[in-house]
């Protein structure tokens, strides 16, 4: 039987706002 392609795994993505927060905190951490 034709092999059905495996379902793709959904990669959870942070929203733009969450990325911004992560960025800001990284910038604050780095000296």
């Amino acid at each position: 039987s034709s092999q059905r392609p495996r379902p793709r795994v959904l990669l959870k993505a942070p929203t733009l706002a969450e990325m911004e927060e992560m960025n800001t905190s990284e910038e604050e951490e780095s000296p």
Binding site: R8, V9, L11, K12, A13, P14, T15, L16, M19
Partner: protein, 394 residues
């Protein structure tokens, strides 16, 4: 017997392999430090295709952390370069093109049937295998909206200073101003030669520049149409608001100038094949105001003609223009109060919006229709000028 083993030239499958520790260098050379001029003459949106080929290899090796990291640093890199070039139309347009192209690639090669209808067999071989990036597509769509808004803001900032003098004060039709209304006062600000006064050609030159940059960078035609619809709306709003507030431009001759200027702008739209953008339609209120300045304003029939023509102007706006209207010369009568009463009576059943002025900051919602590319990934090669030799074609 000499046996020659023909090493089959391994087919380039349209993927790009890189070591995790090279990701920062990749983002620096391909995003944050990239100058769009470096890529002139190459395939438009090349950075987007290169990024997709890197994502595809990370997907191919089932490395979700690498996909997360690459997409996150790409998005952060684009935001960083946009922040650094917040007033730069070319750079902003460049990254709008590439962000939209990357979004289209993630759809076109997602494996979702709906996005594959225009794919070739080979393109279908270049689809992602392991990961569903739907959520990252939403982030890229949100980012595209932010970039689009920045692009409009820059374009409006460049156009705004030109509009009033070019549309209302400059003599596009020479000699017409010989018929300036009585009591016409010279406006110091825009009547100083060389300073603050622009002609219509200045606006058209600026529009040409916007259009050429966006086309050269491969921005989706659908998005280019929306940019000009938005810009023409602003020209309409700024010009009409001035007309509604200034007695010195409410005259027959200004109506004539306006109609000429608007026809030149419509001509420009047609010449650039942008007339289906709806840009001309956004100028309907201004077109009708220009006609109103030229219509007769005496009899009951004149009032009916005005009411049937000015469907895109509110009662308030019509009445305000009639009140401000300044006769050309002593031979032309002023608009009478009773004529304005007649107009108001004929329009009273209209439930018009109460505000007089148009909102110059109004933004039409932007759409990014799916626009698949006919390019196949294995036809894309990286120019040396990008300094990405650490990427390995797979």
């Amino acid at each position: 017997r000499q046996v020659t083993v023909q090493r089959k030239e391994k087919d380039f499958q349209g993927m790009l392999e890189y070591h995790k520790e090279d990701e920062a260098l990749l983002i620096r050379n391909l995003v944050t430090d990239l100058k769009p001029q470096t890529l002139s003459g190459t395939v438009p949106c090349l950075p987007a295709y290169i990024l997709y080929m890197c994502i595809r290899h990370a997907d191919y090796t089932n490395d979700d952390l690498k996909v997360h990291s690459l997409l996150t640093s790409t998005i952060n890199g684009i935001k960083k370069v946009l922040k650094k070039h917040i007033d730069d139309f070319e750079m902003t347009s460049f990254w709008l093109s590439n962000t939209c192209r990357l979004l289209h690639c993630l759809k076109q090669y997602s494996g979702d049937e709906g996005f594959m209808t225009q794919n070739t067999v080979k393109q279908n071989e270049h689809c992602l295998k392991n990961f569903d990036l739907t959520e990252y597509r939403q982030v890229l769509s949100d980012l595209s909206i932010q970039i689009y808004q920045q692009l409009i803001k820059i374009a409006e900032g460049l156009l705004q200073p030109m509009i009033v003098s070019a549309m209302l004060e400059n003599e596009s039709i020479q000699g017409l101003c010989g018929v300036k209304p009585t009591g016409y006062r010279k406006r110091s600000s825009s009547m100083v030669d060389g300073e603050n006064s622009y002609c219509l050609e200045g606006i058209i030159r600026q529009m040409n520049s916007f259009h050429t940059v966006m086309c050269d960078q491969g921005l989706d035609p659908e998005i280019i149409l929306q940019v000009f619809k938005q810009l023409f709306y602003m020209i309409n709003a700024v010009t009409l608001n001035n007309l509604l507030l200034r007695k010195d431009v409410c005259s027959w001759s200004t109506g004539m100038q306006l109609r000429y200027n608007i026809s030149q702008l419509e001509e420009w739209l047609r010449g650039r094949n942008l007339h289906q953008s709806g840009a001309a339609q956004t100028m309907e209120p201004l077109i009708q105001a220009a006609q109103l300045l030229q219509l007769k304003k005496k009899t009951h029939e004149d009032a009916e003609a005005i009411c049937s023509l000015c469907t895109s102007l509110s009662t308030q706006q019509i009445v305000k223009i009639l009140n401000l209207y300044t006769p050309l010369n002593e031979f032309e009568e002023r608009v009478t109060v009773s004529f304005i009463r007649t107009i108001q009576a004929q329009l009273q059943e209209r439930n018009d919006p109460q505000q007089l002025l148009l909102d110059c900051k109004h933004m039409f919602p932007v759409l990014f229709p799916f626009n698949p590319s006919s390019l196949t990934m294995d036809s894309i090669h990286i120019p040396a000028s990008l300094n990405l030799e650490f990427l390995n074609e797979v």
